[in-house]
């Protein structure tokens, strides 16, 4: 674990602003972990806001919905924020936001829904883990073993990110209702709302339900959160439900509330647009499929030409090669870094200081996996626990020799599996 400079001050007090839907949205068909969707619409077809446009037959999947009303103008390959490229449905916005009719008529009495009904609504709304992992939520709401504990993840431990924080402050009641739904879907007894101590306003709002955590990175990592809230560990190679725990991000819980109470599928989300290059960093409510250049323009002017654009936080976010890339369900932030900040540091030989070992939240010895990985000794890398790495990046962050530790461990993980 490491203490990072937070950089949250530039957006933490800025209320969520609505970014108008753009003229064209680029909605990716792969926005979740699992099998990508196939398009349900054809080029030239008219679609409505909230209408399903992608679906697939699979166990781990989530449908994709239109975030505007308008006409499908193309189905093409397009930059993808996570995988580099992927298939998108391009929709020309007619500006009417005409709602898909089935949506408004749903769930007159959300309090009386059964667990199965809640799961079904969550699945049909296309909800995935909104903290960045994008694992389909309906699958997570049906664990194969009984669970008794739910942890709501409001840690938001990555620097710069403030979307979850704003949501907790501005949509407190909605989140509490959402938590009630998740409780019912899982049948859990104990609920913890985990928030870092650098967010006193959010801690005050949720009061006695809050489990206050030290603000350190990666506090919001699922396994670290479980360890620090419940003082127990998820066995290596197992999942949280194996020890009776489910973790849900606050953003996900809010999406569940919207789906169940308002009948709204997941077609928009909160994105923090920030970084030293921007004059007006903001928290925005953005339609899925909006190219990030629209977000950047909205927060203009640029103080400096960005040298690096990251989707997500600076520790685990992904550097983008173009600003044409659209927002997807797991896009937590757009971070613009200056040339000065993005400058690569010279890598020298490991001096065995052990900083990476002491800061690894998974208890690994990153320097040793790194040596094995560089020599392509995959069995040794595996023996040193490469597969237990959560890729948080603490090791690379602290390394005084600037070694590409997490980067080489990522490679080892691919080779070891």
């Amino acid at each position: 674990m490491v203490r990072l400079e937070e950089h949250k001050h530039s957006t933490e007090d800025k209320p969520i602003e609505i970014l108008a839907a753009p003229a064209k949205v680029y909605i990716h068909l792969a926005q979740h972990i699992g099998k990508p969707c196939a398009p349900l619409v054809k080029v030239g077809e008219e679609v409505l806001l909230g209408q399903g446009i992608g679906s697939v037959e699979a166990h781990v999947w989530a449908p994709v919905h239109s975030s505007v009303s308008g006409k499908v103008s193309a189905i093409i390959d397009w930059p993808h924020p996570v995988s580099g490229r992927g298939k998108v449905v391009v929709i020309e916005n007619n500006g009417l936001d005409k709602l898909f009719p089935q949506l408004a008529t749903r769930n007159p009495q959300p309090e009386n829904l059964s667990a199965d009904q809640i799961r079904e609504i969550v699945r049909d709304a296309g909800i995935v883990g909104m903290g960045g992992a994008s694992f389909p939520t309906h699958v997570k709401l049906k664990p194969s073993k009984p669970v008794d504990t739910l942890i709501i993840n409001g840690a938001e431990c990555e620097p710069y990110l403030t979307g979850d924080y704003r949501l907790m402050i501005e949509k407190t009641d909605e989140i509490l209702k959402g938590i009630g739904l998740v409780e019912r879907a899982l049948g859990v007894k104990k609920v913890y709302i985990a928030i870092e101590d650098n967010k006193p306003a959010a801690i005050k709002i949720f009061q006695d339900r809050v489990q206050v955590l030290k603000s350190q990175y990666p506090q919001g990592g699922e396994k670290q959160l479980i360890k620090n809230v419940l003082k127990k560990e998820v066995p290596s190679g197992k999942l949280p439900f194996d020890i009776g725990v489910v973790v849900q991000n606050v953003g996900t819980v809010f999406a569940i509330y919207e789906a169940v109470y308002l009948g709204k599928p997941l077609y928009e989300r909160i994105v923090t647009v920030t970084g030293s290059c921007l004059a007006n960093p903001k928290n925005l409510l953005v339609r899925i499929g909006t190219p990030i250049k629209e977000l950047i323009n909205y927060c203009a002017p640029l103080k400096e030409e960005p040298a690096k654009i990251i989707i997500g936080g600076p520790m685990m976010g992904i550097a983008q090669y173009t600003d044409e890339v659209p927002v997807i369900k797991s896009t937590t932030a757009v971070l613009l870094m200056s040339a000065q900040e993005a400058k690569a540091r010279e890598e020298i030989f490991c001096i065995r200081c052990g900083e990476c070992v002491r800061h690894c939240p998974s208890g690994l010895m990153p320097c040793m996996i790194n040596l094995a990985s560089e020599k392509e000794l995959w069995p040794q890398a595996k023996q040193y626990g490469a597969l237990d790495c959560i890729e948080c990046g603490c090791c690379s962050y602290v390394c005084p020799a600037n070694r590409r530790l997490v980067q080489s461990i990522r490679r080892a993980k691919i080779e070891c599996i």
Partner: protein, 314 residues
């Protein structure tokens, strides 16, 4: 917007720390001892320090030049090796002795293994061991403190070894460095000021120095000259090179274990070997050999003291 965006694998930020910052911080932490050495032993001490450091830098640059590596003398590591080697020499030695010592330390102690980070033994101690084996006479002729005219004097530990009697020096005298010895080891006060700075900067931790000094003190106390539990552990801690060795040489990252568990074993090993050499060995002082031996044991300590992986239970 620019089409030349930088794309790299996360993480995208980095702590403001670097190897050269750490190395220069250790150099700074050793400055009080250099000042003390000059006060106690006069200008010959300064001459020895400057020659050793210059020779270390020249050797490092020369070898990196002929092996076509990037010349990295500015990272402070060769400077530090030269400095520590000088601290392990008597103040008044022939001018060529620190040159030979630094050359050996850098060339054989460090560069033949591949340079910074890859050597097995502490380079400065390798240099010292080489000099002791080759020129024992020069290496054991110590200048008397505050004498200015090069009277030689035995170290307190040598006196103890030869006469079996604790020499007549007060603890305060030892603490301030009024004794014969290597130029950087005598003034405990100056060394502790430097060590406190390194603790404050979190560049060293207690694990190696405390276990090293603690177990050595315990050992010499138990196996005292007049039966069990009669040893003068304060004397043993304040004389010889144990403070210099425990805080500045045994804590060398490259040649000590990675995990805290390993470092405790390393420190205990150093302390026990030092005590054994001092009590029953042929040499009056055992710190440098103890550290060198434990340097050699570091890979095996590392193997058996891996950190515990999250979610894996013993």
């Amino acid at each position: 917007m620019s089409n030349n965006l930088i794309v790299s694998s996360s993480c995208h930020i980095h702590k403001e720390d670097s190897v050269s910052k750490i190395m220069w911080a250790v150099v700074i932490s050793l400055i009080p001892s250099a000042v003390a050495a000059v006060i106690i032993f006069g200008l010959p001490a300064l001459k020895t320090i400057l020659i050793a450091v210059a020779a270390a830098l020249v050797t490092e640059a020369f070898i990196q030049k002929i092996t076509k590596k990037k010349i990295s003398v500015s990272d402070g590591s060769a400077f530090l090796t030269g400095l520590l080697l000088a601290y392990n020499l008597p103040a008044q030695v022939p001018f060529w002795l620190p040159i030979v010592g630094s050359f050996f330390a850098i060339a054989i102690g460090k560069q033949v293994f591949g340079g910074l980070g890859q050597n097995i033994f502490n380079p400065a101690l390798a240099g010292r061991a080489f000099l002791i084996a080759s020129w024992p006479k020069y290496m054991t002729s110590f200048t008397a403190p505050l004498s200015c005219d090069a009277i030689t004097s035995a170290t307190p530990l040598t006196l103890l070894k030869e006469t079996k009697i604790i020499p007549d020096i007060t603890y305060l005298g030892l603490f301030l460095g009024k004794r014969g010895g290597c130029l950087g080891e005598v003034c405990i006060l100056a060394l502790l000021i430097g060590a406190a700075f390194l603790f404050f900067k979190k560049y060293i931790s207690w694990h190696i120095p405390v276990t090293f000094i603690g177990i050595n003190g315990l050992f010499v106390y138990i196996f005292g000259p007049n039966g069990f539990f009669t040893g003068d552990w304060v004397f043993h801690t304040l004389s010889g090179g144990i403070i210099l060795g425990a805080f500045f040489m045994a804590t060398d990252y490259v040649t000590s274990p990675l995990t805290r568990k390993g470092q405790i074993i390393f420190g205990l090993g150093c302390g026990v070997i030092t005590a054994v050499i001092r009590l029953w060995g042929g040499y009056p002082e055992g710190v440098s050999y103890a550290i060198l031996m434990m340097n050699g044991a570091t890979p095996i300590i590392d193997r058996y003291t891996k950190s515990r992986v999250y979610g894996k239970f013993a």
